[in-house]
């Protein structure tokens, strides 16, 4: 497991990082429980609508979307550039994102608020299906990273031909 080091400026709104991996367990019931817990967490968050006061336990937070052909992993990484990031896909379905966010250049002033975190981070994520490792594409725009991962042929949904008489 990759180590994560994410040093916030102030500890009043951040919490230290724990294990940063997440994935799809083999037990479907456990998977449902986990999803349900995640949904609860998300709705709480939508309800409060307040990012600045939510403790962040993993960084970066990831969203996952899909269509017929691709998976899309998205992360908000404001202040970074694509060159600051190392993105790997290994074993067909293991996505790893590493990087470092530099502290802001504040000079010799007086800090009134320090809510943004900085430091090294890494995440390892097990994708829900195999992807074509050679065709993975990453785009970085306005501080949002989007990784496009084409599904392997075997993982794509396929319509079965039904033979008649």
């Amino acid at each position: 497991m990759l180590n994560t080091l994410w040093r916030p400026f102030s500890n009043d709104i951040f919490e230290p990082l724990g294990s940063s991996g997440w994935g799809w367990p083999e037990n479907p019931l456990a998977e449902m429980n986990r999803l349900s817990a995640e949904m609860d967490r998300m709705f709480r968050r939508f309800g409060m609508g307040d990012r600045a006061e939510q403790p962040v336990v993993t960084y970066p937070a990831l969203d996952l979307w899909q269509d017929e052909n691709c998976l899309y992993v998205e992360a908000e990484l404001p202040g970074m550039a694509i060159d600051d990031l190392e993105i790997y896909v290994t074993g067909g379905n293991q996505l790893s994102i590493r990087g470092e966010r530099n502290p802001p250049i504040g000079g010799s002033g007086t800090w009134h608020r320090q809510e943004r975190g900085y430091g090294q981070f890494s995440r390892l994520l097990t994708l829900p299906c195999e992807v074509k490792t050679n065709e993975v594409d990453a785009e970085f725009k306005d501080g949002v990273l989007t990784i496009t991962l084409p599904k392997s042929e075997a993982a794509k949904p396929r319509r079965l031909a039904i033979k008649g008489e």
């Binding site: 995640e38 269509d67 320090q114 306005d142």
Partner: protein
């Protein structure tokens, strides 16, 4: 004074009344540093393009509103650790600010906002007269 200088004005609920979309509105994280000449604010606004960012300063109240375009239309949501939505935050600034000279820059989702102090409130070394 340092603590009193800026107070968070709301939890972002001000934006609820004028919100027209169903997505949530989030309070962005900010760093604020004060030098003798200015206040500098650094805010994380990922996904906000330059022309969708509104910054308003009036009577010591600074409002920052960023609109985020939907990013995954026609895709199926699988798993999420954060929500995507607009950003809103406001601050009360008790220092006298030269509003004409406020400047803002948005780069890679980070807003850098310079609020220069007016001449009258800048710290000044006072020459002391006395006998020789």
């Amino acid at each position: 004074m340092a603590q009193e200088l800026m107070k968070k004005q709301s939890n972002g609920n001000v934006a609820v009344a004028e919100r027209t979309r169903t997505a949530g509105t989030y309070t962005p994280r900010f760093d604020i540093v004060e030098t003798k000449d200015e206040l500098v604010l650094y805010g994380d606004l990922p996904g906000v393009p330059k022309d969708h960012l509104d910054i308003h300063f009036e009577n010591g109240q600074l409002e920052i509103q960023g609109k985020v375009e939907p990013r995954h239309t026609n895709r199926e949501f699988v798993y999420g650790e954060y929500g995507i939505g607009d950003f809103y935050r406001s601050f009360n600034v008790s220092e006298a600010i030269d509003a004409e000279k406020i400047s803002a820059e948005l780069r890679n989702g980070v807003l850098t906002l310079h609020l220069p102090k007016t001449e009258s409130v800048k710290p000044r070394k006072i020459a002391v007269k006395g006998d020789k």
